[in-house]
Symmetry: C2
Subunit: 136 residues, 2 copies
DNA sequence: CTCCATACTTACCTTTTGGTATGTACTTAC
DNA sequence: GTAAGTACATACCAAAAGGTAAGTATGGAG
């Protein structure tokens, strides 16, 4: 079994020179955490639907997100260079959010996953016994 | 602005008949949560590398995961019908994990995202100022 | 007879995450 | 003059996630 683990590591050797989400040291795992955080992926999906959005628009589209969490998530994604924040110095405040080039590329994969889930939802739910039967 | 939100909702109308991760009611969001949970995606990625894996192999490959979390994550993914668990009634116990057809399809998207992150890691890190400069 | 290995489970505790409520600054609408 | 809208920040608390350590069952190795 030790050999098999090594074989897999060997197959992943190319990955070690860039990033490796399977390694707990690698910053790639941090980035994956940001994108796959509770609201991170949904923000990318929402932004992928249009060009620019205001804070309050995003709040309405991403159902259930609180102001605090949306602000926090947007900041993290902005720091990763995935989201662009443009604020206009007017009152009341006007801020627009959009995806950067990097952000669009990442969003494509997240949207791909979300679409797959949405299309295969019934199949997945069928495999999930909890949703149809429950022990008394 | 209300019109814009409606326009987006209209553009997503097709999605409402299947699943919609942007809706907080829809079970699709739960499935997304499972897959994008801290260890869920990494399990899919690891399993995607080979045919079958034993519990202890997965623990070694997915660096940093605890026994408790790996067991829990595998159970959730099994309930969603993404992971297949095969146990052989021998002693010491022998259990093999692999992806189902559904699981393979989901894994493709997760692997795609992970690969993108790994390939673009330096670019992302460059946009992330926290990793190079720190306020004193 | 004791130790080791496998694949877990369980109890206990800490850390992280997330929600609610409130405050801010300013202007327009009523 | 009071409320509403905008884009947040902040404090406080509850819930969830996660780690550690120990226990379980069983048989073989020493």
């Amino acid at each position: 079994m030790e050999e098999k683990v090594n074989l897999v590591k060997e197959a992943l050797s190319e990955r070690y020179r860039r990033g490796d989400v399977l390694s707990d040291q690698c910053p790639a795992r941090e980035v994956l955490k940001h994108i796959s955080s509770r609201w991170g992926g949904l923000v990318l999906i929402a932004l992928h639907e249009g060009d620019t959005f205001r804070f309050s628009e995003l709040r309405r589209i991403i159902q259930g997100v609180s102001e605090k969490m949306l602000a926090q998530t947007l900041q993290v994604l902005e720091q990763d260079g995935l989201v662009l924040r443009t604020s206009f110095p007017v009152v009341p405040p006007h801020v627009e959010y959009s995806l950067t080039k990097l952000g669009s590329e990442a969003a494509v994969h997240v949207v791909g996953l979300a679409n797959w889930i949405e299309e295969n939802l019934s199949g997945i739910l069928a495999g999930n016994k909890d949703s149809i039967e429950e022990a008394p």
